[in-house]
């Protein structure tokens, strides 16, 4: 059944037919017809952000906490260019979002018209795919295809650029139907490779699961199957920053996050293992450290839906291209049919070795005196919120690493952080997107004061929609991670890495009609956190913390997993000239 309608109405209809309930956006000249249609209906909620970057990060937060694609709507020119950071963020973290941009009318494209930008040109390298729609008749089908591309295979951001005359013109509406396009990524893994992996599982003496965001992206079934496989084999499991929550932090086989600021036991297990099973991770440079010293004696299996991830950085022995859930299901099936074998004696010995490493207690810290340690603030936040229906977003920097280390994630889709791009300013708008999707949940953005200021304008959005997002700011009046690198690499010359002229966050909150809480005394911390949790509305929590605390453990640039720094005493002169060019 087709119906004739305007392009603008088509946009709204197509979004409804795709099951969209929330759109984050900001109006402008080139999208006014679409905003007119939004005004005339009640099925889709539109959330007015205060900056287009906020709209895209909010859509990301929505997508990551629900598993459904997030949608943002912005105008041409500056609206589109402001969306670029969010698009790049979503591309690097494989987050499915659909961004709709207005464009000047087709007959004015190329004339340097007011608010014209070559949006598809600018966003080509930072989207999975994009489209400029020149005819209203093709608009609906393009939107449907955009949702297919955003979610199929390795998810990612897509963008549809819609000239204003296309929005005004009439055309035939095409309802959604299963995508007939050639883009149909393979989801089933090769059975030969899967069997080879099962054989490796049966004989491994020192195995480790190394899991990533691909498990989360694959959906809840993937996390379920992962838990089943891990617990049935008894193999230890670590995860990247992106994959936290796929396996519960309270699980028996969990050995913590790995990587540059990962746990000692996790990195040591990666270095010494004899079988590494990478599930939905991509051997990112934050994970591998020095490539030629990366896990030198292991057989490596890699499960990834994107063939370009395989052998990109680390050469693997058992490559499996496929969707995590499908491949895990087949692994379990084959492993069970062959008698559920493992080398349990040696694996127990390996687990004992990991327990010894754990005794190093690499996250230990001492809270004393009248200053709050940032680790202590997060440990208390964890204790006081872990039993809540809780979602955590973060900004980028030390606080982000501490949050990953000190908060425990029991389920997927509960942890939203900018991993690949490392976007300061991500967490606050992302928390708004999460809260929209989960109105009754406790949504906390763990932030540093510098990152948080980058998108602080979204306080207006939070108060307008009465979103009770909690902004938990670890305020050290420093760009802490920058400062840490300057200390390690640049002779303690702290060039522009402190936050001067900071606002009074309590007054700032009040100016936006929200609640501000200042806490500087460890003795007040628990009460202050409880006050934040119990307040029904947005809160800025200004937690004044120790200013010069560094984030450990740390694998310095250019070093291997077994060359971790565990504390301040070990930091002098550890990074050589080769390592210092790395970021």
């Amino acid at each position: 059944m087709t119906r004739e309608m305007t392009g603008a109405k088509m946009v709204v209809q197509a979004l409804k037919d795709q099951g969209v309930d929330t759109v984050f956006g900001y109006p402008g000249g080139a999208v006014l017809p679409i905003y007119d249609e939004i005004f005339l209906q009640n099925d889709i909620r539109h959330i007015l952000v205060r900056h287009e970057q906020g709209a895209v990060h909010a859509a990301e937060g929505y997508a990551r906490s629900t598993g459904k694609p997030g949608v943002a709507l912005v105008t041409s020119g500056p609206g589109a260019t402001n969306a670029v950071t969010g698009l790049t963020d979503a591309l690097l973290d494989s987050i499915p979002i659909v961004v709709l941009t207005g464009q000047v009318p087709t007959f004015m494209i190329g004339s340097d018209a007011f608010q014209e930008a070559d949006t598809v040109g600018i966003t080509r390298p930072c989207t999975k795919h994009n489209w400029l729609v020149k005819e209203t008749d093709t608009l609906a089908a393009t939107i449907h295809e955009a949702f297919h591309v955003a979610t199929a295979g390795r998810p990612g951001p897509v963008l549809i650029d819609i000239p204003k005359d296309v929005q005004f013109a009439n055309g035939e509406y095409q309802p959604p139907k299963p995508s007939a396009s050639h883009y149909q990524p393979i989801v089933k893994g090769d059975m030969e490779e899967i069997t080879e992996l099962v054989a490796a599982i049966e004989t491994a003496k020192k195995p480790v699961f190394y899991t990533g965001g691909g498990v989360i992206n694959s959906g809840p079934a993937a996390s379920q199957l992962l838990r089943e496989l891990v617990d049935a084999t008894g193999f230890p499991i670590t995860s990247t920053l992106m994959g936290l929550g796929a396996y519960p932090a309270s699980g028996d086989n969990w050995i913590g996050m790995l990587g540059m600021h990962g746990l000692y036991e996790a990195n040591m297990a990666m270095h010494d293992c004899d079988l590494m099973i990478n599930i939905g991770a991509r051997f990112d440079d934050r994970i591998t450290g020095r490539i030629d010293a990366f896990s030198p004696n292991s057989k490596k299996a890699h499960i990834d839906i994107d063939p370009s991830s395989i052998n990109k950085v680390i050469r693997v022995d058992i490559p499996i291209v496929g969707d995590v859930a499908h491949v895990l299901e087949d692994i379990l099936k084959v492993w069970k049919s062959r008698g559920r074998k493992t080398d349990s004696a040696n694996v127990a010995h390996w687990q004992a070795q990991i327990s010894d490493w754990r005794k190093v207690n690499c996250l230990a810290f001492t809270q004393e005196g009248k200053t709050i340690k940032p680790q202590h603030a997060l440990a208390r936040l964890e204790e006081l919120t872990k039993d809540h229906d809780r979602y955590i977003t973060t900004e980028v920097g030390q606080h982000q690493m501490w949050a990953a280390q000190y908060l425990g994630f029991e389920d997927p889709n509960r942890w939203m952080t900018s991993g690949g791009l490392g976007t300061m300013g991500y967490g606050f708008p992302a928390s708004i997107g999460v809260q929209m999707a989960h109105p009754d949940a406790l949504v906390i953005n763990v932030a540093g004061e510098a990152s948080w200021l980058m998108n602080m304008q979204e306080m207006g959005t939070a108060t307008q929609y009465r979103l009770p997002v909690k902004q938990f700011i670890l305020n050290n009046e420093r760009l802490g991670m920058v400062r840490q690198w300057q200390e390690l690499l640049h002779g303690e010359r702290y060039s522009h890495s402190w936050s001067e002229a900071l606002p009074d966050f309590v007054k700032l909150a009040e100016a936006f009609g929200a609640k501000g809480i200042l806490c500087s005394d460890p003795a007040d911390l628990d009460d202050a956190i409880m006050e934040m949790i119990n307040y029904d509305g947005p809160v800025i929590f200004d937690c004044l913390v120790e200013k010069h605390e560094n984030c450990f453990p740390m694998i310095p640039s250019g070093k291997a997993h077994n060359e971790m720094l565990l504390g301040e005493a070990e930091t002098q002169g550890v990074i050589d000239s080769k390592g210092s060019v790395l970021v």
Binding site: V120, G121, R124, P125, K128, H129, L132, V149, R154, H182, Y183, P185, I186, D190, E192, E193, D306, P307, S308, I310, N311, K312, R315, P319, V321
Partner: protein, 186 residues
């Protein structure tokens, strides 16, 4: 060309050899890419090469299937085996790309390029240019009293050789199409 039916990104049996032999030797590969003929598709392919720092020695593109809206891009590139594998995998993940074929691996293949060369001169040099053109089976497509435009088709090294010979005889300008290539056999 039965190899064209290999599915994108499948297994170690596919065009994406997932178990490559990594070495540091620079190899020259000819890659054929079938793409949706839509605006911006060439920019996607070229942007991939520039954005990720891959080499392009030559690149040709034209529509080859009007009803299917498919264009064929032939790229000659150099890189280590690992880089070549990455190039193919990265090309394969572009949504507009239907098929990627490494003709150097799937080969043998035939490669042809067309070039036009303007040679300006008179007297003995003019006669010599015409004689060499005959040996190379180059055609004269334009002529004045003191110039020729030759058209020559062949593998790139044949064109290089012809251009080298024409240089002392008054080569003024050269235009080359870049390589088009097909697998041999059926």
């Amino acid at each position: 060309m039965s190899a064209l039916h290999i599915k994108k990104g499948a297994t170690r049996h596919s065009a994406y050899n997932l178990r490559p032999n990594f070495s540091d030797v620079q190899e020259r590969h000819t890659i054929a890419v079938l793409v949706e003929n839509e605006p911006g598709v060439l920019a996607r392919v070229i942007g991939l090469f520039s954005g990720r720092g891959y080499n392009i020695e030559s690149l040709t593109v034209a529509e080859v299937d009007h009803t299917g809206h498919l264009s064929r891009i032939t790229i000659v590139t150099t890189g280590t085996p690992q880089v070549i594998e990455q190039i193919k995998a990265q090309l394969g993940r572009i949504v507009s790309v239907h098929e990627v074929h490494d003709l150097t691996v799937e080969g043998p293949s035939v490669e042809r390029e067309l070039a036009m060369l303007k040679v300006v001169g008179d007297g003995e040099k003019r006669v010599e240019a015409l004689r060499l053109a005959d040996i190379f089976r180059a055609n004269v497509v334009d002529s004045t009293l003191n110039s020729f435009v030759f058209e020559i088709t062949g593998a790139p090294d044949k064109i290089d050789a012809f251009a080298d010979l024409m240089r002392p005889l008054g080569l003024a300008e050269i235009a080359r199409t870049g390589v088009a290539a097909l697998l041999r056999g059926d």
